[in-house]
């Protein structure tokens, strides 16, 4: 929790301000410590960047936005405790759940009965607010700006077949809900694409040695390894793969590895690794809105100059602006605000276009949302 002191100070300061003037409170849960903290902190950075802009421009209808950000450590019981406090005591007008699947799902237990607008900007799991309303429609208070795991799995399988022309693949996934979800989805998409899976390996996030998996993958003759796990794990797999001289075996990962950690930890070993992303490679896309945000993101997080902006920072950023726009229109009444969010229509966000309607709660589209990017010279570039 590198940033905890400034956050605490900011919270304390904003708490003092809150007594003096009326503010619009928004709540956010996220892993700000523990192994998934890199996701939570980049999400928080996105919200804060947007709130800084909104407050600098005079707030919403003259009221400043106050962020109540809590560290759920990606643990559902903590997420539940914090969301209860935010909804019942702090009276937040809207809620941003954790980037992690299970704490995100858990918090619905509180926001659905209370009717608090629930804006998903990070969670990619199909279990939360499923596209097309199956097996059950999205909860009435939910809208989502982030991409979905099923879209990524389809994008990865398509890329592996059409661009990489792989014959046999191996799947490596962690034992969390996230990893297992990804494995099921990949398996289904690979079956559709007619690519045989010659090896499936699972592991805990704390795993220290991947050679037992890799030697089997080598023996099975897979020409690509598809991963569904976090960045520091993929870095370790890539390092050991290089050590075993398996340079011809390509790696393709899910969007959880688009942050800087993969490249910082993996160094040369992750050169060439492909991954699904929710937007084109930020730096090379030439989109000014992304570039401006990227500069402010780097200044705020003191990020490595080679770091692109993680796509979930942009979704949280865009989600906060969507919320501000909706409050301008409908005020802070929970029901009216929910309706305004779901009727936002089509608008341009950071490098991507979103579209929301009461019957379409996922703001991105299956076909166009997924971009495959690749590590080149320590940066992310669009894969060709």
């Amino acid at each position: 929790m590198k940033h905890s002191l400034p956050i605490l100070a900011a919270l304390a300061f904003s708490a003092l301000q809150a007594q003096a003037q009326d503010t619009i409170k928004v709540g956010m849960n996220g892993a700000l410590s523990g192994p998934a903290a890199v996701l939570g902190r980049d999400a928080l950075a996105g919200l804060e960047l947007a709130i800084d802009e909104i407050n600098a421009a005079g707030g919403i209808k003259g009221k400043k936005v106050e962020l109540i950000a809590k560290d759920d450590e990606a643990k559902p019981p903590l997420a539940l405790k914090w969301v209860q406090q935010m909804v019942n005591s702090d009276k937040i007008v809207a809620y941003f759940p954790s980037t992690n699947t299970t704490p995100s799902l858990t918090s619905l237990q509180v926001t659905v009965p209370a009717g608090v607008p629930h804006i998903i900007a990070g969670t990619t799991s199909d279990v939360v607010c499923p596209p097309g309303g199956a097996p059950k429609p999205c909860d009435s208070n939910v809208v989502r700006l982030s991409i979905l795991n099923s879209w990524q799995a389809a994008g990865i399988a398509k890329f592996a077949k059409e661009k990489l022309k792989v014959q046999k693949v191996a799947i490596m996934y962690d034992s969390t809900e996230y990893g297992q979800d990804g494995e099921h989805l990949l398996e289904a998409e690979l079956k559709k694409a007619g690519i045989p899976i010659v090896y499936k390996g699972t592991f805990d996030l704390g795993e220290k040695a991947f050679k037992p998996h890799l030697t089997k993958i080598k023996a099975a003759g897979a020409d690509a390894i598809l991963t569904w796990t976090l960045d520091f794990v993929v870095a370790k797999i890539a390092i050991e793969k290089k050590e075993l001289g398996m340079n011809e075996v390509r790696m393709v990962g899910s969007s959880a590895i688009t942050g800087m950690a993969l490249r910082a930890l993996g160094g040369d070993a992750v050169e060439g690794v492909y991954m699904a992303d929710g937007m084109p490679a930020a730096v090379t896309s030439g989109d000014d809105s992304v570039k401006r945000l990227l500069e402010r993101y780097r200044a705020k997080t003191k990020a490595d100059p080679k770091a692109g902006i993680p796509y979930w920072t942009t979704t949280y950023y865009d989600a906060m602006h969507l919320l501000a726009k909706s409050i301008e229109k409908a005020g802070t009444d929970r029901a009216a605000l929910t309706k305004a969010l779901a009727s936002a229509g089509t608008w341009k966000g950071t490098g991507v276009t979103y579209s929301l309607a009461p019957e379409k709660r996922n703001a991105r589209e299956a076909g166009s949302a997924i971009h495959i990017v690749q590590v080149k010279g320590g940066q992310l570039v669009d894969a060709r």
Partner: protein, 291 residues
Amino acid sequence: MAWQTVIQLLFSGLALGAVYGLVALSYSTIYATRNVINFGQGELVVLGSLLGVSMVVGGKVPVLIALVVAAAVVALAALLVEWLAVRSVKEVTRNMIWVMSTFGLGICMNQLMQKIWGTDPVRFPKFIGKDEPIQLGQVTMLPQELGVIIIAVVVAVAFEAFRRNTLMGKAVRATAMDRDTASLMGIDTRKVVYGSYALSGALATLCGFLVAPIQFADPNGGVLLSVKGFIALVIGGLGSPIGGFLGGLFLGLLEIGSASFISEVWKDVITFGALILVMLIRPSGFFGKLG
């Protein structure tokens, strides 16, 4: 499975086991003084590697100098463990409270480190040889991994020689056997205890420096190292440092072997099952003596 693959995995198991073995060795130096285990020992390893990252990566300090400085700091931290979690508790209660106090102090240290260094794993550059793996026949290995095995074995053997052959070593063994009698024989047992904790901290630092370039310097990695090092020590024998080290090698080989030849999913079941089996057949471990 081809023989090259088997050798490759054997080597992998030894590299992993050497790390567990060094943790076990650092455990046993403390155990040798008051029959106490520092359940926060893994955090000392992590502290060593994070100090190393700050100096080597952040401050461009040569690795050897960084190692000496970090070892000194971690030795002080180990003395703090003795002072806060062992001495204060043990002399008052004479019961098992040290289990919780050492474990709890480990958690405190972990939280403190996360405040200072953050929660993300950090890269520690390889300092033995280059980043490129070396080829031996059809087996490839990183020079760093080979270095870990060699250094760990040398340290373990040197440590055992020190215990057996030097006056200081004999004083440590005498203190472990019977502190009061050792004291009556003119051994300054307090100095022996302090020396042992400091040495334990230094060993933990060495372990941190060796493991970080392969596994990253991971602020969250302490608990796992504590547990695996402890299992290695119990399998090898509580009173025997070299036994603990060999227990570590055995554990590393068992983990990699079971993951490779049986199933990754059953790896932990097999590892912990082996621990229970050793406890049943030889409660004192392979090399330990009871009592």
